[in-house]
């Protein structure tokens, strides 16, 4: 168990180091976030809260596909073999899940700031929404990380991730939109905690499935 944690930490450190040394990918995604929201601002101006909410989560979906897509595509098969010999599949997928969740939370917060700057600010409970955004970014990244592993093994690009992932992300997106509706009105709606718990439950399900299934993807 402790060996596993050490392995995961080492793999995480490697991913973060790579990110710091090759900063163009990080800034690339950041620029993607900024330019998407800017184009959206030019197209929509400052929409009302329901539209704002819908647009925000749809943009999160596309950001997630792009941010997470490269996590497996950048690894060559030789390097995968090397990780396999030193760490094992479970540690590897867990480190990727944690790393991408962190990356996506960062991107979600960035896009939240940009949304509030450009698209108007209909939020009544910004802190509540911030919490939802962190949870949501995390949930989206978990599903898409595993799907990017599948797409990478099939030697496919980000388009394949979208095809595989969009039908599967529907429960999370619907739950997220419903939860975040709470942050737009003064009236407290019931079920906020329950729906958040369902979302966390879904995340645990995804992690479990990823840990069980990834070793089969890995083998060649």
């Amino acid at each position: 168990m402790t060996a596993g944690i050490v392995h995961i930490a080492a793999l995480l450190r490697k991913d973060i180091l790579l990110e710091i040394r090759q900063q163009y990918t990080f800034y690339g995604i950041l620029l993607y976030v900024a330019s998407t929201i800017f184009v959206l601002y030019l197209a929509m101006g400052q929409p009302e809260s329901a539209v704002w909410n819908g647009l925000f989560w749809m943009i999160q979906l596309f950001i997630c596909v792009n941010a997470v897509a490269k996590s497996f595509l950048q690894e060559s098969s030789g390097r995968m073999l090397y990780y396999y010999s030193i760490a094992g599949a479970r540690d590897y997928i867990l480190s990727k899940l944690i790393f991408n969740a962190g990356l996506m939370i960062l991107m979600s917060i960035t896009s939240l700031i940009l949304f509030r700057l450009l698209m108007g600010d209909p939020l009544q409970h910004p802190w509540k929404f911030l919490g939802t955004v962190c949870l949501g970014g995390c949930s989206l990244s978990l599903v898409f990380t595993f799907l990017s592993a599948i797409a990478a093994r099939a030697r496919q690009n980000a388009a394949m991730i979208a095809i595989l992932g969009f039908p599967l992300i529907i429960p999370q997106i619907l739950l997220l939109m419903r939860i975040s509706n709470d942050a737009f009105s003064d009236v407290i709606q019931g079920g906020f905690l329950l729906m958040s718990l369902v979302l966390v439950g879904l995340d645990i399900l995804v992690i479990t499935l990823a840990v069980i299934l990834f070793p089969f993807l890995w083998k060649d």
Binding site: R155, I163, L168, I170, L174, L209, F216, L217
Partner: protein, 222 residues
């Protein structure tokens, strides 16, 4: 001919004759369209059974990587898609008369649309790979992953969106019927209908499987 194939024919004949001849209860604006229940609802159960069998064979493939398991998984998911489409068509036709529109964002309609998208993506993923073993393994992984996400989805969707189906949320003014509206005669037709359609689905799949396995065999022999 195996006994269960004869049973399938007998049950479906019974469903058609019984379903079209028995006296049905008069519920709301359904009138005689209520007879569609014998043909529409079993499509869903058959779809679900076929997709579950597909899941079982995908798990089997990961445990013992035999190519036959993969072929079973594919053919059962194809049958699942066909029955899903049939269920969609019969349901939309029915909804057109009773709910006033073919599509009304009902959670069950959304559920089947998502299922079709998932399994069509499964075929796209399969066809993107040429290596047989790799294709079998990766698509098995996707099949299992997708199925276990799909189950919570069909549990969550009805609680998020209002339903016109019987037993759904927001049933006020629902022109549909619920389980209590089925009289005894209808129950005696619909229960065998479930089994009959499911057996037909499995029968169709076994035929396709024989063809698929045969072509596989002849192609590798050459």
């Amino acid at each position: 001919m195996r006994w269960w194939k004869i049973l399938a024919i007998a049950l479906l004949l019974y469903t058609y004759i019984g379903g079209l001849l028995i006296t049905v209860p008069d519920v709301g604006n359904l009138q005689h369209t209520i007879r569609n229940a014998f043909f529409h609802i079993p499509m869903w159960t058959t779809q679900f059974i076929a997709l579950s069998i597909s899941l079982v064979y995908s798990i089997k493939y990961l445990r013992t990587p035999k190519i036959a398991n993969d072929i079973y998984a594919v053919e059962y998911s194809k049958t699942g898609i066909v029955f899903g489409l049939l269920g969609l068509v019969t349901g939309m036709e029915w909804a057109n008369f009773t709910w006033g529109a073919a599509w009304s964002n009902d959670p069950k309609q959304l559920g089947v649309a998502v299922a079709l998208l998932i399994y069509l993506a499964y075929f796209v993923l399969r066809n993107s790979m040429t290596d047989i073993d790799k294709r079998a393994r990766i698509s098995a992984v996707y099949n299992i992953f997708a199925f276990f996400i799909y189950i919570p989805m069909i549990l969550i969707l009805p609680r998020m969106v209002e339903s016109l189906h019987p037993g759904g949320k927001g049933v006020e003014g629902n022109p549909g019927f619920n389980g209590d509206d089925l009289n005894t005669a209808m129950k005696w037709v619909i229960r065998p209908a479930y089994i009959g359609w499911a057996l037909l689905g499995i029968w169709i799949t076994t035929l396709r499987l024989r063809l698929h396995l045969y072509t596989e065999k002849t192609q590798t022999a050459v």
